[in-house]
Amino acid sequence: MEIVLYSVIALGLLGLVLAAVLYVVAQKFKVQEDPRIDEIVALLPGANCGGCGYPGCRGLASAFVSATDISGLKCPASSAETMKKIGAILGQEVVESEPKIAVVRCNGSCQNRPKVNRYDGAQSCAFAATLFAGDTNCSFGCLGHGDCVAACRFDAISINPETGLPVVDESKCVACGACVKACPKGIIELRNRGKKDRRLFVSCVNKDKGAVARKACTAACIGCGKCTKVCAFDAITVENNVAYIDFEKCKMCRKCAAECPTGAIHEVNFPPRPPKAEATEEKPVQTNA
């Protein structure tokens, strides 16, 4: 009995002494931090994706707090509402910006783009891109090893096993831009989500001459320029044999997509075309952005 008593007293005393030491140390070495940082961190998604350009969400939060003008700072993964709340904490007005989404600009599926060799090395696009031009004749297209998938902190991008191409999940993508940085071929682009999530874009970045590009991939942009001629808003430019649609100018009339001879211009989330137009023949409405 005595032993138990002594043990309890001894341990209790030890606990008290240590608690006192801890208290003193905690007071002495206390770091003064703006409490607003914690408040903002609580609002941010906490994925530390790096899309804002700061090392993690806490980095952005401290940047918010220390900045005199927060117009240059934005968490790409947060909604406009969250940004407003952050603005409220800091007592500043937040300018709303158009929501964006990642878009994969390659449609070189196994069918469209036949394989010409077999790759047998590290499963990394970054490495494969330095080793060779790719396992097809297109040296600009997707390599399919999924660096973008690995980079995404929101589980919003995955490789479709049938096409071998990455697919962006519209509901999950927050346009942080991590996949854009991860892609060694520069295929992924952040574009405006568009009204009713409708988008129109050229799903190809092949800079080869038309014939070469076409031979490598049936869905390639051949730089023919037909789309630039039908566009009434001057939104399409052809540079280095590849067309690009400026989403700021595009009015979503879809004339270009109907005109494109290879189907390289993709339309997403549009209603099906009325059957009367002659351009209905084999222009599948692409749903994968």
């Binding site: 010409v116 060799n117 047998d120 090395g121 590290a122 990394s124 970054a126 490495f127 330095t130 080793l131 060779f132 031009a133 790719g134 396992d135 004749n137 040296s139 080869d208």
Partner: protein, 443 residues
């Protein structure tokens, strides 16, 4: 006792199938596709246009900057176009396409076999001629030769090392050249000595080429200051830093160039090309290419014009493309696997190696058992297993702190790994990324 380098190294099977076969001239191609990006550095600028008539030896591409090299026509005929052509990796590079008509050479080139021993030119003229002839490192690195010969101010070369090691398995191009062109080679060495102003030259040859060692040793007895150094068999002895270490015991400091250890290294192929350029006025338009491997009927050593399609050389040696799983430009340790057969011979094509389906695929990788065989094998004294782990986790700062930039990509780590892990793949990835980070920091 043969000399060798101190740290690491491995012993791959030599497989020198074509060692006994003399060099034969390959047939002229019907169309030569001469790449303008055959060397390290900026691609040359084309100076011919579609429809131009060219002769053998005529300049068709002009060096674009200091680290670049001239390109000469290796055939005579009409330029059909100046366009992009695929290289071994499948990338499209600028090239000159020439439809071959006859074999008409520039009159200034001495095509006879007579040995010209007397060196009339001074050092400056020699380097100028080498530069004009578009000579690059023929061992495979294709670094412009005149850049290496231009000794930076404040530094001094103590000796020249001629690389006759050919430590890559299968390849025999340098071996045959040393046997068949020994006298020309010695003159080439003397020219190079004069160019960099040294009194001493070593020719490093591995012990598995006793015929070349004895022949060159005999010739060198008559010469002042040239010495043949037989070396113990060990890969990667042909690496510049390893060769300097093996021959002289010196170590090139980390991040520095051979000249910082007082050495200039040139390949035997380069020395021979230098002889031809300086004494015979012949630019670099052909090279020795070994075509060998399991699926080749007669492993051969060809003297092939630059721009000859690879497929034609394979056919000439009786190579069976159907049965091959992998075709490599270069040797099995550092060569590049070809993504297609549309590429042509370049100044750096030391060999074409054809492996059967069985050898083509990599063995399946298992978990690292921390056996440290990669650490023991690394000739640069790095820890490849660690660099791989850092690169996989994208820990670039740790990669840099562990000297990833010292890696010479020789492949000893991956060769020796019992778990067959793709160590070098990730080390290369790390090296590329860290290199980019360092460059961006300097700006």
């Amino acid at each position: 006792m043969f000399k060798t380098f101190k740290i690491g190294g491995v012993h791959p099977e030599a497989n020198k199938l074509s060692a006994a076969n003399a060099i034969v001239s390959a047939q002229l191609p019907k169309t030569a596709i001469i790449s303008l990006a055959q060397h390290i550095g900026a691609p040359a600028n084309a100076v011919v246009q579609k429809g131009d008539k060219v002769k053998v030896g005529q300049l068709i591409g002009e060096a674009n900057g200091f680290v670049s090299a001239n390109i000469h026509s290796s055939v005579s005929g009409t330029v059909s176009k100046v366009d992009l052509a695929v290289d071994v990796a499948g990338f499209k590079k600028p090239a000159v396409f020439i439809d071959v008509e006859g074999d008409e050479w520039l009159e200034t080139i001495d095509r006879t076999d007579t040995l010209v021993e007397e060196i009339k030119d001074d050092a400056k003229t020699i380097v100028g001629k080498i530069k004009d002839a578009g000579i690059v490192g023929m061992g495979g690195a294709t670094f412009p030769a005149h850049v290496k010969l231009a000794i930076p101010e404040g530094k001094k070369a103590d000796f020249l090392i001629i690389n006759g090691v050919e430590c890559e398995p299968y390849l025999t191009a340098d071996h045959r050249l040393m046997l068949e062109k020994s006298r020309e080679l010695i003159v080439g060495v003397k020219i190079l000595m004069k160019a960099i102003g040294v009194e001493k030259a070593y020719i490093g040859i591995e012990a598995n080429k006793p015929d070349a060692i004895s022949k060159l040793t005999e010739l060198c007895q008559k010469e002042q200051g040239i010495e043949v150094v037989p070396l113990k068999l060990k890969y990667p002895q042909g690496g510049e830093k390893q060769l300097i270490n093996a021959v002289s015991g010196r170590e090139v400091p980390s991040g520095k160039l051979p000249i910082d250890a007082g050495a200039v290294v040139q390949n035997v192929g380069t020395a021979f090309a230098v002889y031809e350029a300086v004494q015979k006025n012949k630019p670099l338009i052909e090279r020795i290419v070994t075509v060998t491997g399991d699926t080749v009927a007669t492993p051969s050593n060809f003297r092939a014009r630059i721009g000859t399609p690879v497929a034609e050389l394979i056919a000439a040696a009786g190579g069976d493309v159907e049965k091959s799983g992998k075709i490599i430009s270069g040797g099995p340790m550092m060569g590049k696997a070809m993504a297609n057969l549309e590429s042509t011979v370049t100044k750096g094509t030391s060999g074409i190696l054809m492996l059967n389906e069985e050898k083509a695929m990599r063995p399946e990788a298992g978990p690292c058992i921390r056996c440290a065989k990669c650490v023991d094998a690394c000739p640069m004294g790095l820890e490849p297993y660690l660099l791989m782990q850092y690169s996989q986790r994208q820990m670039w700062a740790e990669d840099e702190a562990n000297h990833i930039m010292d890696c010479i990509e020789c492949g000893c780590c991956i060769f020796s790994c019992p778990a067959k892990r793709p160590i070098l793949d990730y080390v290369r990835l790390g090296k590329n990324t860290v290199g980019k980070i360092i460059r961006s920091r300097k700006q």
